[in-house]
């Protein structure tokens, strides 16, 4: 006896519950991972106070990069020369032959941290083995 005709008019049933499950899980997954988009790195630097910087400067004559207020805002200063951009500073620092003695970066209280950290990065990019950050004494 044939009770039902299963071949004719059969429907494809989509399992919506499991699909919604997976879709929501994927949504949450991408929402969580999107927090990782900003890649953070680190810039290692030595620290020194003004007295140690002056002493070191007398002993080894290292390069001192200062962040000072220029005519049109804050600029970098290396050996009496004022430099406006980090890229230019890197080029100038690359030309210095003695990189073993390291470099000092000094910034006043009013100087933007962006420039101070940019100066440290420029010293690293130029190949200085040791970069030290030292606050300026005249700002205390």
């Amino acid at each position: 006896m044939r009770l039902t005709n299963r071949r004719h008019g059969s429907k494809i049933d989509l399992q919506m519950t499991s699909m919604i499950d997976c879709v929501f899980l994927l949504l949450i997954f991408f929402m969580v991972t999107s927090n990782f988009n900003r890649t953070e790195r680190e810039l290692d630097t030595g620290l020194a106070t003004e007295t140690r910087t002056v002493k070191a400067a007398g002993d080894l004559a290292p390069i001192i990069v200062e962040v000072i207020r220029g005519d049109g805002g804050f600029v970098f200063k290396v050996g009496g020369r004022q430099i406006a951009s980090r890229e230019e500073l890197t080029v100038v620092l690359r030309k210095i032959e003695n990189k073993l003695d390291g470099a000092f970066v000094r910034a006043t209280d009013e100087a933007p941290f962006l420039l101070a950290s940019g100066a440290i990065q420029a010293c690293k990019d130029a190949g200085f083995l040791k970069t030290t950050y030292a606050p300026r004494l005249d700002t205390k």
């Binding site: 790195r41 680190e42 209280d109």
Partner: protein, 138 residues
């Protein structure tokens, strides 16, 4: 009497619950991993390439645009930071060189608080090496 035929039976693995569980575990571990990064205040850092990838730091000092010090994740004063540093150094067998300090500064901040923190670290606690947090430019 033979009731049922055993020929032609298929072993079916239901993939849907397996994917469900796998994703749940994945999200769980990713969320737990993020809790360990809660000490890192969400703020824009200087857009620089840096010198190395992130390391685990014993102390993360955040300095926001208004020169406030934020440590896990509470606003603290410079004197409170000094007490915290003393505690951490005592925990590192009184050896400041064993303490890894990460300083994260808002990209629009000035150097005022950074300079005070540096003076505190170097002068009082003889910590003469720190890591500065930077953000890889897009």
């Amino acid at each position: 009497m033979r009731l049922a035929k055993r020929h032609g039976t298929k072993l079916e693995i239901n993939m849907t619950p397996m994917i469900d569980v796998t994703f749940l575990l994945l999200i769980f571990f990713m969320t737990v991993n993020q809790v360990s990064k809660a000490n890192r205040e969400r703020m824009p850092l200087p857009p620089l390439a840096g010198s190395h990838d992130q390391e685990d730091a014993e102390l993360i000092i955040n300095i926001d645009r208004e020169n406030n010090i934020i440590v896990s994740p509470q606003f603290i004063s410079l004197s409170e930071l000094a007490s915290l540093l003393a505690e951490k150094i005592a925990g590192a067998n009184n050896d400041p060189s064993r303490l890894t300090v990460l300083v994260r500064v808002h990209r629009e901040a000035d150097c005022r608080m950074v300079n005070q923190v540096v003076n505190l670290l170097d002068d009082k606690f003889k910590i003469n090496r720190i890591n500065l947090g930077v953000e890889v430019p897009r």
